[in-house]
Symmetry: C3
Subunit: 279 residues, 3 copies
């Protein structure tokens, strides 16, 4: 029996996640359920897409990933199942699978077989009444063709990076518990892990010119922010042992701009802390 | 082997929940443990009763629900096991099972068999020393008669709705992660899901006259609060894509009043935002 | 197959914990994973050591406890496995196992067998790339000698209590969800559970002279703080049904001083609330 994972913005103070687990275990008693996260910022589809991307392919082949970040619950948005590479994905067709679908061929099915749903379907909680029963059905080996009808396309989020010859423009797509600010700039776009020495990343009021390999590397100036490739391959803005988000006043959605060949800071600016350099 | 669920106000930053799980797994290694929530507002028995009610009967028959929201730990309040319908409930006799016990016949047993407890019993952590061992014992098939003695009654919370011919008075019993304010008014008290067109719900400084079926239905005025039947059958106060609790300044315990035949708002009031209507 | 527990400061809003679980389940599909906590205050090794101590020995013999509170990830700090009593511990050699290692003989091994690691090792996430694979290997029965090389010593945290003939000096090492302030003073240092009647505990601006056995014992003065032995054997500072941390303005790291034979408060002081007594 495969694993079912859950990724939602339901939080952990309500009955929502537990009701989904009960529904799954009642229909598929041998299945193992693993939480990815339930603390996605409410209705933040992009952040959910990123967190799913960071976790999904560490799981065994055949794992069923259920994602319910679903501001449009009850409206016309379609419930779907996607088979991509070795994994199944269940959730609303709102772009939440955008990152994982870049990595493999995939098939999309609209969930239409109402005989698999809960006997009564609320208009506010499809996680419990549609997505959990469908995940249970998949774990029991019910084929995609019995779950719904084939679709030719799936909703994707707009690109989060604009590339020009000398710079990349993106934004902050997630802030982790340590205050690291994850940008939409990916290592896959570069030939190696080292940025050119002449790089400068602009974010909020800060201009960052230092890159590190690990968080506590050469902590000589603890107030200096640096960039680092995070463990899912996205460029992060960090500070040693403190929250870059708080200290640099950065938020999800803030624009960032990576210059690859920035003119060097002049001497007087260099002596100031890099967080205060004028742009 | 049945499932054991846990519902507490312990939070997730301490060893409390893990110690309970260790105790259970040591005594009943094959059991599957599922968290309902550990983020119940500290000592809030009513909120725990509501969250339990929203989740318990989605689990397979035979599931053992352990609830430890227990401000009176160490005092004279009794530890009990309740068998209600297809489920077992383990916890303090303080009203936390009030909602689920309205739905089925039940038997109550005071937990008295000390040979089933931990070898040393603290006065501060009966979740670990009494309730977890008893849940493990139930999962192993030990009969209720060996766990304790039959009681003729169980503690119930006071009614949370007062009904008069033209109105229902209740209060806010829970606020979910999205800021939806759950009232104690239940759909079961009405013949259908539609409130009369003349209804008005008073809460805090707001008077709400709109009902929706799903959260993003007809979002023409995003600042207008509405009521909606939540997925556990209670009337909620909501705002489209933002927190009603924050925006309307509502808290757990605040009184609400549902008028079924309210006089229509006059024109001048209508033009103002409904959240500012005088009561 | 033994249980693997996880204790980190990763929080629950990211993919970090799930990626570790995926790695473990991919390599050791039958293993049962239990969360101890992921809400350790970021980089707080002492708090993690305390939470581990409160939970570890309730689990079945053979349980593998993985602790990743690891500010030095990527630096020269060593990854280790410790076998202590009936349990295995996996994590960085930074003192996080200090409390559990006082209770049993132990053996320490530096993790060196790179063939057991992930195929690519990041410099920012050894929880996923080293510690999770090693825990999976242990759960599959791979012997310690194949995991690494024997070490003669392990990093321990400095003592958190200084004892003099008439007093004990320590500090607040953890604050729980209820606002109870856990000090580093342990019951094991005393012959019984009752402090001498002449005791006084100084913390922040408070002087506390009352000891209780359970939280709601004799609540005649709800604003009076008291001390109580917590369920892991450490002295806590508490208030009835409210947060001592908030009301007395106490934080992790604040010093506390326990006088065993304090002069009694004079009459005028006694009539004031004990939280305002001058020191």
């Amino acid at each position: 029996v495969p694993i079912i994972t859950l990724l939602t913005d339901f939080g952990l103070s309500d009955y929502y996640v537990a009701a989904m687990k009960g529904v799954i275990l009642r229909r598929s008693p041998m299945v193992d359920i693993v939480d990815i996260s339930h603390e996605i910022s409410p209705q933040n589809i992009l952040s959910a897409a990123y967190v799913l991307f960071g976790a999904y392919d560490y799981f065994p082949a055949g794992t069923i990933h259920v994602v319910v970040v679903d501001p449009g619950v009850g409206s016309a948005r379609r419930p779907i199942v996607v088979k991509a590479g070795q994994y199944y994905f269940v959730g609303p067709d709102n772009g939440v699978f955008s990152f994982v679908l870049r990595q493999a061929d995939y098939q999309v099915f609209e969930i239409t077989n109402r005989s698999l749903f809960a006997s009564e379907i609320s208009s506010t909680f499809h996680g419990r009444d549609i997505f959990a029963p469908i995940a249970a059905a998949l774990s029991l080996g019910i084929p995609l063709e019995e779950i719904g009808k084939h679709l030719s396309r799936v909703q994707l989020l707009p690109e989060i990076v604009q590339v020009s010859p000398s710079s990349l423009e993106s934004r902050i797509i997630h802030i982790d518990r340590f205050g690291n600010c994850v940008t939409g700039i990916e290592q896959a776009a570069f030939s190696g892990s080292k940025l050119p020495k002449t790089f400068a990343l602009h974010a909020g009021n800060s201009q960052i010119r230092q890159q590190k390999c690990f968080y506590l590397e050469e902590v000589t100036e603890p107030n200096n922010p640096f960039v680092i490739w995070g463990s899912a391959g996205f460029l992060e803005i960090s500070l040693p042992l403190s929250s870059a988000a708080e200290r640099l006043d950065l938020r999800i959605g803030d624009p960032v701009r990576l210059l690859l060949d920035a003119s060097p800071p002049n001497g007087s600016e260099r002596r100031r802390t890099s967080t205060n350099v004028n742009r």
